[in-house]
Amino acid sequence: MGATTGDPGEGLAVLDLHAYYGLSHVLQGVSLEVGVGETVALLGRNGAGKTTTMRAVMGLMPVRSGRVRLFGQDVTGRRPDQLQRSGVAFVPSGRRVFGSLTVLQNLELAARAGRRRSTRWTLDRVELLFPALPALRGRRAAFLSGGEQQMVKLACALLGEPRLLLLDEPTEGLAPTVVQEMGGWLAALRAEGLGMLLAEQNAVFALRLAQRCYVLEKGVIRAEQAADELLRSETGLRYLGVARNP
C-alpha cells in the first residue's frame, strides 16, 4: 500500500482498469494519467469506452479489477460523492441539469452539497467567468438553451471546488458558436490551473486544448501522444475520423 497521506504532486492515475456491462468486457485494462493542472484528451470512436472510463473512475459503475489513484490516494471503489469531495468533478455529456429547479437552486445545491474547505470558487467568481449567468438565476433550468445549460453544468462543477475536471463530450450537440464559447471557457479554466480529462469525439477541439492525448479503442489504450504531434499527423487524424481543415 502507498502512503495514505498522498502525494500532492500526483493527479489522477488509472491503473489497468477492467469493467463490464453485464457480460460485455467494456474496459479491458485502461491505464492513464492526468498530472496536476494538466489537460489530457481522451479520444476514440463512439463505443470505444471513453464515457465508461470516466464513469468507472467516478464510482458510477463497478470496477472488476485495477486501481484508481487520486492526488496520491487510492480511491478505487469510493462513492461518487466521496470522490467529488476529494476534488474531482465529473461533467457528464448532454443536458444534465436539474430541470425542475431554477438556475440559482442548481448552483446553490452544487455549492452546498459539494463544498470543501477552500472557497476558491464562490458564486460571485463563477458568475464572473460566465457573465451571462446572473440574468438566468430565476429561470427554470429546463427552459435554458443548450449553451446556457452547458454553462450551468460547468458552473455547478466549479462550485464543488474541484482540482480536476472529468469532461464527457462537452461539445456534443452544441451549435458551432457555442462550441467556440466552450473552448474559451475551458481555456480559462486551464489557465486557472485546473486539471482536465477531456473525452471528445471532436478530436480537433480536444487536441487544441490538451497537452497530451490518449486514444482508446475497444476498451484499451492504443496510443499516447503529445497533442500537437497528433494534430500534425495526417494518419492519426484520419484514424480518428477527422478530415483536416484545408
Binding site: D81, S100, A110
Partner: protein
C-alpha cells in the same frame, strides 16, 4: 336530507382525507425518489396506531399528546431499519421483486403485531381538550375531527415548505430527476434515500397515531389503508405531493357520497373514482409521464 347532514358528512370526509393524505404523501414521496412501491407502508401506519394506543393505555391521564409525539418517532426507527436492512437492496431490482419483498414485510409486520397486541382491537379516547363537539348553526361536529383536518393541512404545508424551500427538498426533487448527477455533485444519495424513507415512515406513523381516537386499532388497519392510499397516490399522480392531497380529497368525498346516497356501492366507489380519473388522465391528475 338536511344541509346539516351534508355539512357533517363533508367535514367528516375532510378528516378522512387528512389521514389518507398523510399516508399517501409518504407513499408517493418514496415512489417519486426511489421508484419503489412500498406495500409495507400501510404496516408502518398500523404500527403508528398500535404504538400510540399502547402509550395511551400504559398510563392514566392525558397521555394522548405523548403518544402523538412518540409513536411517529418509533415508526421512523422501524422505517429506517427497514430501509437499511431491505429496501436499499431492491431499489435497482425489478418492480415485481420490490412488490414481493415489501409484501413479505407486510405479512411479517402483521404477524408480529398479532403476537404483540393480540387480535382484539385497542381503543383510544380523544384527548380531553378535543373530546367535545363544536356546535354550529344547524349541526354539531366532533372537535377531534376538525383537529385532524387542521393537522392534515399543516402537514401538507410543511411538506410543501420542505420540498420548495429547503436544500433537502431540492435534493429530493433533484434525485427524482437525475440521482446520478446529484451524486457526482457531492450528495450521498444512499443517505438521502434513507432520509426520504424515514420522512415517509414519519408521515405514516403520524397518520396512524392520529387515527386512534376515531377507529379501533387492530391488525387489519395496515392492509385497508394501503389500498386506499395507493388509489389516492395513483389518482393524484405517483410522485406528486399536491396530487396526493387532491386525490385524498376526491376519494374521501367520493366515499362519503357513496355511503350517503348509494350505501350498497360504497366499497366500490374507491375503484370507480380511480377508473374515471385514469381513463381521462392516465398519469394521474398532477402526474407526469414516466421516463
Amino acid at each position: 336530507m338536511s344541509w346539516g347532514v351534508v355539512a357533517v358528512a363533508l367535514l367528516t370526509s375532510l378528516s378522512t382525507a387528512a389521514s389518507l393524505f398523510m399516508v399517501a404523501a409518504g407513499l408517493t414521496l418514496i415512489f417519486g425518489a426511489m421508484r419503489v412501491i412500498n406495500l409495507a407502508h400501510g404496516s408502518l401506519y398500523m404500527y403508528g396506531a398500535f404504538i400510540a394506543a399502547t402509550i395511551v393505555g400504559s398510563a392514566t391521564g392525558d397521555t394522548f399528546w405523548y403518544a402523538l409525539a412518540l409513536a411517529p418517532l418509533a415508526v421512523v426507527v422501524l422505517g429506517t431499519l427497514l430501509e437499511v436492512g431491505l429496501m436499499r437492496r431492491v431499489y435497482r431490482a425489478d418492480h415485481l421483486v420490490q412488490l414481493l419483498a415489501t409484501y413479505g414485510v407486510l405479512l411479517i409486520l402483521g404477524d408480529l403485531a398479532l403476537q404483540f397486541w393480540g387480535a382484539s382491537p385497542l381503543s383510544v379516547s380523544s384527548p380531553r381538550v378535543l373530546s367535545g363537539s363544536l356546535a354550529f348553526q344547524h349541526f354539531t361536529f366532533p372537535a377531534y375531527e376538525l383537529f385532524l383536518t387542521g393537522t392534515g393541512v399543516l402537514v401538507g404545508l410543511a411538506l410543501w415548505f420542505l420540498l420548495a424551500r429547503t436544500s433537502l427538498g431540492w435534493k429530493v426533487r433533484a434525485s427524482v430527476e437525475d440521482a446520478e448527477l446529484l451524486a457526482v455533485r457531492g450528495t450521498n444519495v444512499k443517505l438521502l434515500y434513507t432520509v426520504v424513507f424515514a420522512i415517509g415512515a414519519f408521515l405514516a406513523g403520524l397518520g396512524g397515531a392520529l387515527i386512534t381516537p376515531l377507529q379501533g386499532v387492530d391488525t387489519g388497519l395496515g392492509s385497508s389503508i394501503i389500498v386506499a392510499a395507493f388509489v389516492v397516490a395513483v389518482i393524484g399522480g405517483l410522485g406528486s405531493i399536491a396530487g396526493a392531497a387532491l386525490g385524498a380529497g376526491i376519494i374521501a368525498v367520493f366515499q362519503m357520497a357513496g355511503a350517503l346516497w348509494l350505501p350498497a356501492w360504497e366499497p366500490t366507489s374507491l375503484y370507480v373514482a380511480m377508473i374515471v380519473v385514469l381513463a381521462i388522465k392516465p398519469w394521474g391528475l398532477l402526474g407526469v409521464r414516466d421516463r
